[in-house]
């Protein structure tokens, strides 16, 4: 996609993440504009480090340093995500800094998770009602955006659906591993709608939002070209991934999954808390004792491979995120079929030896 000719200084927050990383990859050969990657943790910069780009340390929770970091920036693509604090306070800080800099455009990556547990065709007029923590935090981030829109900060809010592709932990690597380990399969509980959006199509939407005037102060759903069920997604993924048949999950097994999901939730929270409070001690034990390393790896794998309760709810949800508005206003057309997107993704998974 060719950007407008004016010289821009584009800053990407969360540049080492799944979506921010792809934005950087796509912008890396853009010779007309200056692209700056905002990096919070240098240890995560291996992906974008492959490109000769400018990187700046970026802490969205530290407003004074953020203002310095963003000095001279004309456009911001805000992809930073993580804890509730990063999503809410981080977005507020970015907006505050952007207003001071009089930026020409700020793209805020929200999520279709803001809609919550609503079925049917969902367009942007539907009142959001998130149920999970992530959706609630994203909605708070949007509310911050609305405040700054009133101050004439040129903001665009995008609500992508299920974004998949290379480097996607949740909807790509996680699902692929679950399929191969036979932890996921066909089930009557997975007949909900799977609104798959290949990451490159989302990047197209971001770039359109970046240069089209009509995008300013608007909120857009972004979705892929095909709506299938989660069962269909697993079926296609399995066909491209494995020569073996996808497992069928019977009702009793589905009930067991639900029980396990409810049990694993608190285990996951406890593990996260322990790691947050005693990270250096845990890492020392992990490095020093082989048996503990095996046990910790085993527990981590088990947690990752099991389906959690919010995913089980999502797999039942019969919601379709309507994209007529973005198609009409920005002439957005998702180009990547699920088959093509997954083929590219699997080629990447093989390359990095995830499978």
């Amino acid at each position: 996609m060719v950007l407008k000719m004016e010289k821009r200084v584009i800053f990407v927050t969360g540049a080492t993440g799944f979506i921010g990383g792809r934005v950087i990859e796509k912008l890396s050969n853009d010779n007309k504009n200056t692209v700056i990657a905002g990096v919070h943790n240098w240890s995560n910069a291996a992906r974008i480090g492959r490109f000769p780009i400018i990187m700046r340390h970026c802490d969205v929770l530290n407003l004074p340093s953020l203002k310095k970091t963003l000095n001279g920036v004309t456009h911001i693509i805000h992809c930073a995500a993580g804890s509730d604090e990063i999503i809410i306070k981080g977005t507020s800080n970015i907006l505050n800094a952007a207003m001071g800099l009089k930026v020409k455009r700020l793209i805020n990556l929200s999520s279709a998770a803001v809609y919550g547990k609503i079925s049917g065709l969902i367009d942007e007029s539907v009142v959001p009602n998130p149920i999970d923590q992530y959706g609630k935090a994203k909605l708070c981030g949007e509310k911050e955006c609305f405040k700054y829109m009133l101050q004439r900060v040129p903001i665009v809010i995008l609500r992508p659906s299920i974004v998949y592709g290379p480097f996607s932990q949740k909807w790509t690597i996680g699902i692929g591993r679950q399929i191969l380990r036979k932890k996921i399969g066909l089930s009557s509980g997975f007949e909900g709608k799977c609104n798959l959006l290949y990451v490159d199509d989302l990047i197209d939407a971001i770039f359109l939002s970046l240069h089209k005037e009509e995008a300013v102060s608007e909120t857009f759903n972004v979705n892929g070209p095909e709506i299938v069920s989660w069962n269909d997604y697993f079926r296609i993924f399995n066909r491209l991934l494995s020569s073996e048949a996808l497992i069928s999950i019977k009702h009793t097994e589905y009930l067991r999954l639900m029980v396990a999901a409810n049990f694993l939730g608190p285990v996951k929270i406890a593990a996260k808390l322990a790691l947050a409070k005693q990270e250096s001690l845990i890492r020392f034990i992990y490095r020093r004792f082989q048996l503990m390393r095996k046990i910790m790896d085993g527990v981590e794998n088990e947690i990752k491979l099991n389906i959690n309760s919010s995913d089980l709810r999502l797999f039942q949800l019969r919601a379709i995120y309507e994209t007529k508005k973005i198609n009409r206003v920005l002439k957005f057309k998702p180009r990547t079929s699920i088959e093509t997107g997954l083929k590219k993704t699997i080629a990447w998974m093989k390359h990095v030896e995830i499978i």
């Binding site: 990859e25 890396s28 990096v39 240098w42 240890s43 995560n44 910069a45 291996a46 992906r47 974008i48 480090g49 492959r50 490109f51 000769p52 780009i53 990187m55 340390h57 592709g165 290379p166 490095r287 020093r288 590219k344 993704t345 080629a347 990447w348 390359h351 990095v352 030896e353 995830i354």
Partner: protein, 326 residues
């Protein structure tokens, strides 16, 4: 210790905090004989407070002729220039790997070292591992017969707590970083690789996935690095009579298989070092001995010639992986 040479530490990143300074502390080294140097003043004071060191400066050029030795731990692409400057001022150097980023730099440093009479020690820690030394002995003594195959894979998400991010802000990556160790071991154990083919995923920046195939006489070898995903993290050396294999992070034991009786034994070596960080003690003792008594460095400039030349060849002939998802 009766004599404490004055030693500057240039670059005060994570390696200094976790590897070098704890070792000086263990040795009971005179605190007024260590000078910390870093362009980041906050970082200097943080380390100064932690290790009770008072001497510090933000400009290494101010202490070029005021120290007996220097430990260089700055970003890799600065090692060469800084080593040259200290050598010219009659200062012994302990450099983090890689000492140089090209073979032409290597030749200049070797030449200067010979002329100056001041020696350089390079931190190729894996050469100090008991396992590495024993494997070299086993190969040399013909225990596994003529080497026929070599495989080394190292992969895992990059977790080094780099404070500056320099790893990812130049055109060389995992090959010169992790590869400086792995390629050095190959050269040390088996000889200089020939018929090299090398591919990586750089688009002008630092590569994160790299694959090196080579031959050394009748031995076919492969080294693979991956900063995105955990690999087997094992090595094996297959010979005509047997093979050696092990975990790349295990510095005390390896497996030795004898094809004739189909036996595999685990060889565990005695060592005082409990963790990787304890190997700093060996390096620092050797470095002090170099300065005080003109001892030879445990890992010298001439020791790393083949690995520097091999890595240089790889970068000059690098090709990119076919990556259809781009």
């Amino acid at each position: 210790m009766s004599y404490y040479p004055t030693i500057a530490i240039v670059g005060c990143g994570a390696i200094v905090e976790t590897f070098y300074l704890p070792s000086f502390h263990k040795l009971g080294y005179a605190k007024n004989k260590i000078i910390l140097v870093d362009t980041n003043n906050d970082r200097l004071h943080k380390l100064g407070d932690k290790f009770e060191l008072k001497k510090m400066t933000i400009d290494y050029r101010k202490i070029l002729n005021k120290v007996d030795g220097v430990i260089i731990t700055t970003p890799s692409y600065l090692h060469f220039e800084q080593t040259i400057q200290f050598l010219k001022n009659g200062v012994y150097v302990l450099s983090e790997k890689p000492l140089v980023t090209s073979f032409s730099q290597y030749k200049k440093i070797l030449n200067l070292e010979e002329k100056s009479g001041y020696k350089i020690l390079i931190n190729h820690t894996k050469r100090l591992f008991p396992v590495s030394i024993e494997i070299k002995n086993k190969i040399n003594s013909g225990v596994i017969g003529k080497p026929l195959g070599f495989d080394y894979s190292e992969g895992g998400q990059f977790t080094w707590p780099t404070a500056s991010g320099f790893y990812f802000q130049w055109d060389k990556g995992v090959l010169i970083d992790r590869g400086s160790h792995a390629v050095d071991l190959v050269c040390w154990w088996l000889g200089k690789p020939k018929s090299i083919s090398y591919i990586d995923d750089s688009f002008g920046g630092s590569e994160a996935v790299a694959l090196l195939n080579f031959k050394i006489n009748s031995c076919k070898g492969r080294i693979k690095f991956n900063l995105f995903n955990k690999l087997s993290n094992k090595y094996y050396i297959k010979g005509a009579k047997g093979e050696i294999s092990g975990d790349i992070y295990d510095f005390t034991s390896f497996l030795l298989t004898n094809y004739s009786d189909k036996s595999t034994v685990k060889i565990t070596l005695p060592t005082k070092q409990k963790t990787y960080f304890d190997f700093a003690d060996i390096l620092i003792r050797n470095f002090i001995d170099m300065i005080s008594n003109h001892a030879d460095p445990l890992i010298s400039v001439s020791d790393i010639k083949d690995s520097v030349e091999t890595i240089d060849y790889c970068y000059r002939h690098r090709q990119r992986f076919n990556m259809p998802w781009f």
